[in-house]
């Protein structure tokens, strides 16, 4: 297809399915913690605004969780179907880590999700809060395992190679490999920030349409506190992550910077923009700022960073892609920090809930966190090429032996089915968002759930609104 080889198609297929999938867990991680905070604040302050927000967002959480489970089913099999040589080579380490991720997810679903989604007014308040907290903690434990697996592939340690295969020697070293703490922190915070901007954009949308109530204001306010405090923290964590990458995967950093060679003792400039050309081995149309590359990456004015030409051509990642995906991530990060600062200014001077220009920006920034997260993952995954397990196994040797024809058929199927079905799911989530929070919702006991005969225990059924505009519609204006 389009002159692509089997390996390219295999990589595109994996990138497509995993990129689609990660959006749902990211929102799940963020919303679970958001819900735990909302319920905790409600229990502490008895302010029913928090309770109304809890009920509103728990429905969106439920739909999103359901989509994550369905799209995750594919991921559990794709390592074997598409990357069988990798699975055999590294399965003794990545297999158990993935097993633990799945076990955690199911433990969580079996134990606490039902109580959280259907147990309102059925179990005591304390127990319900405990269930919500456990769900939030569970999503983070799942993150822990899957990032341990990914980080081990980036910076492997704690193993030996016997008969051409990886054997774990020290599980502690395997899990807490050098890049793991940075990657885990960066991803967990990314999920929080992405969710905050999603929540903030929902509030801005309602405010722009004149739907102004305390719950919607509270939503915006909480999201903007996150933007103000957590977005800068994310920038610092990202910086630390970058330094860690410089130490363990210098070629990735060189590609991100589009930095081809070190001339003499000249400190490394920062290339703001340019077009890295892998064939000509230079970055065209580069706009450089002297010293800044050294300053950011070595925190000094004279040290150099490694250059791409010091790596053999077959060991270089594609600089053109990671140069730009990295810049997309950073630019969106800057925008998010800017929104946080502007919100602080408006909070101080007034107009946080009424400045239309600001609200419009917040609304447009709704997907910013998710896009930045995807751009970041593209950077780190393409930047570690040509290795699937860094320094141990090349991606080209990792794939299953499928023909271009087979891979084309399955790729087209995945694209069509995912856009159709998850598009419907996403549309439904948006519809729930448009309804906005209702007051006094928490006075009722929800229908059914585990232990109840009346309704199913599935996440998606916690949202009972129709999927079409106007159907069973209880949309109320402004409250």
């Amino acid at each position: 297809m389009f002159g692509l080889e089997a390996l390219d198609l295999a990589r595109i297929q994996f990138a497509f399915t995993v990129s689609f999938h990660i959006l749902f867990p990211a929102i799940t991680i963020g919303l679970a913690s958001f819900l735990a905070v909302l319920e905790g604040l409600w229990l502490k302050t008895h302010d029913n605004t928090y309770r109304d927000l809890y009920h509103f967002w728990s429905k969106i959480f439920a739909v999103n969780f359901g989509m994550g489970v369905v799209s995750g089913l594919v991921m559990a099999y794709e390592f074997g179907t598409n990357w069988s040589r990798f699975s055999d080579f590294a399965g003794a380490i990545t297999g158990p880590l993935l097993t633990y991720e799945v076990l955690t997810a199911f433990f969580l679903e079996a134990g606490f999700l039902g109580v959280m989604l259907f147990g309102w007014n059925r179990v005591g308040r304390g127990l319900h809060f405990f269930a919500t907290v456990m769900v939030a903690v569970g999503t983070l434990i799942s993150t822990f395992w899957i990032l341990a697996s990914n980080s081990w592939m980036q910076t492997p340690q704690g193993f030996e190679i016997v008969d051409g295969r990886v054997i774990p020697v020290d599980w502690f070293a395997v899990i807490f490999n050098p890049s793991f703490p940075y990657r885990l922190a960066h991803m967990a915070i990314a999920a929080f920030v992405a969710t905050a901007f999603f929540v903030g954009a929902s509030a801005a949308w309602h405010l722009l349409r004149g739907r102004d109530n305390p719950a919607i204001r509270r939503m915006l306010s909480m999201a903007m506190w996150m933007a103000l405090i957590v977005a800068p923290i994310q920038a610092m964590v990202g910086d630390a992550h970058g330094l860690n990458t410089l130490e363990h995967q210098p070629a990735k950093i060189a590609a991100i910077e589009g930095h081809w060679e070190n001339v003499g003792d000249e400190p490394t400039p920062l290339i703001l923009f340019g077009i890295p050309d892998m064939k000509e081995e230079r970055t065209k149309y580069a706009i450089e700022i002297p010293y800044l590359g050294s300053l950011i990456l070595t925190h000094s004015l004279d040290k150099q960073i490694p250059a791409l030409k010091s790596f053999p051509p077959e060991d270089r990642p594609n600089s053109l892609i990671v140069f730009w995906s990295f810049r997309v991530m950073v630019a969106l990060g800057m925008m998010m920090i800017f929104v946080g600062l502007w919100s602080a200014w408006l909070r101080w001077r007034g107009g946080l809930y009424s400045n239309r220009l600001f609200l419009r920006l917040v609304m447009c920034m709704g997907p910013a966190g998710l896009i930045a997260m995807l751009a970041g993952w593209f950077t780190t995954e393409i930047g570690r090429q040509p290795w699937v397990v860094y320094g141990l196994m090349r991606t080209a040797n990792a794939s299953s032996n499928h023909s271009v024809g087979q891979l084309t058929i399955t790729l087209v199927l995945f694209v069509v089915v995912y856009f159709m079905l998850f598009g419907a799911g996403f549309g439904y989530m948006m519809r729930l968002v448009r309804k906005g929070p209702k007051t006094h919702e928490g006075d009722d006991t929800p229908h059914g759930g585990p232990g109840q005969k009346r309704t199913p225990a599935r996440p998606l059924s916690a949202a009972d609104e129709g999927s079409e505009e106007g159907q069973k519609d209880s949309l109320r204006e402004g409250n």
């Binding site: 099999y77 158990p96 633990y100 585990p450 599935r458």
Partner: protein
């Protein structure tokens, strides 16, 4: 070293797959039987009989995949590569069905028929390709130097296609008897009428697979027909016939629960027969569970978590089914 970890893991995975086949079997069967029932309200009841449990049923499929990766990476990589297309088609069928399940209830009347079709199509595709994958697996997967040594379309054989159809018959029977147990009135009557032909079809395909396999594979024939194995294994086909005899008796006296329970026995017997043919190979015909096992420090590491968590999942599963016992009627709104 007294603990045989690969054996423990084989038992866990066989148990997980058995749970999956039994439980997802009847809810896939309901999708297969959908075309036989036209009315919206009867279709609602059909779906409602599995609505609270179906996604828990699929849990076992994900767990099976992940556990296979952790405990037997060689089998995970070789089998999944060899069965690439049927497995991907199966997964896409399952996704379709899962999403249709949810959105059918939320859709308007005008759009519901689309989700109905997605549900039927998804169930059929998922079942058929599950059967195809199973057939190709029984047929054997060539392995050279720990890698799959066949072609991309090796799975496509008359036998595997037949197994796809066979599984549709078996799951339809599971779904049919499940509905006899869970419903009443006209819908139950319709299922009651379908039970006999479906049981005969299931018997026919089971017999065909049972004859086809030893004829095509000398080592499987050897396993069954050598002395003294013959005496040990003879009860399996015998029990199948006994089970079917009681099945028809139960249908005749209009029993509600017995047909489903006997169908479970039937599935269990078929599963045992398969186990007898293949044991101890995890990649038939030549790679055993010990050859394919990950090192003990990997299998031991995940065993701790698995033994801790599986009781919770089982407990929750039994509880859901217990809470949900009894008949489903038109008045029951599970949504």
């Amino acid at each position: 070293m007294g603990i045989d970890l690969p054996l423990i893991w084989a038992v866990i995975i066989i148990f997980g797959l058995m749970m999956y086949v039994v439980m997802d079997g009847f809810d896939l069967g309901i999708g297969i039987l959908f075309p036989f029932i036209k009315g919206k309200s009867d279709r609602d009841v059909m779906m409602n009989t599995v609505a609270p449990v179906w996604d828990g049923n699929e849990t076992w499929l994900v767990l099976g995949g992940a556990a296979l990766f952790g405990a037997f990476p060689l089998a995970y990589s070789v089998v999944l590569e060899a069965l690439y297309l049927p497995l991907i088609f199966m997964l896409i069928g399952l996704i379709f069905r899962g999403v249709a399940f949810e959105f059918r209830f939320k859709a308007t009347d005008a759009k519901r028929h689309l989700w109905d079709k997605a549900f039927i199509g998804g169930s059929l595709v998922a079942t058929f390709f599950q059967g195809v994958a199973l057939g190709a697996y029984i047929d054997g997967i060539p392995v050279v130097n720990r890698a799959y040594a066949g072609g991309g379309l090796d799975w496509l054989t008359p036998f595997s296609l037949f197994c796809g159809i066979a599984l549709i018959a078996a799951y339809a029977l599971l779904g049919c008897t499940w509905l006899i147990m869970k419903t009443e009135g006209a819908l139950q009557k319709a299922m009651h009428d379908l039970a006999r032909p479906l049981a005969l079809a299931t018997l026919a395909v089971m017999a065909a697979v049972s004859l086809w396999t030893p004829l095509a594979h000398a080592e499987i024939a050897d396993r069954w027909f050598s002395i003294p194995n013959l005496f040990w294994f003879m009860p399996v086909p015998g029990l199948v016939l006994v089970t079917l005899y009681f099945f028809f008796k139960a249908i005749e006296r209009n029993a509600h629960y017995t047909p489903f329970l006997l169908t479970l026995v039937l599935v269990f017997l078929g599963y045992s027969g398969l186990g007898i043919s293949l044991w101890p190979n995890i990649i038939p015909p030549a790679v055993s569970i010990w050859d394919a096992a990950s090192p003990p420090q990997s299998q031991g590491f995940i065993l701790v978590g698995t033994l801790f968590i599986i009781p919770f999942i089982l407990g929750y599963t039994f509880w859901s089914y217990y809470v949900f016992r009894g008949k489903v009627t038109h008045e029951d709104g599970y949504h």
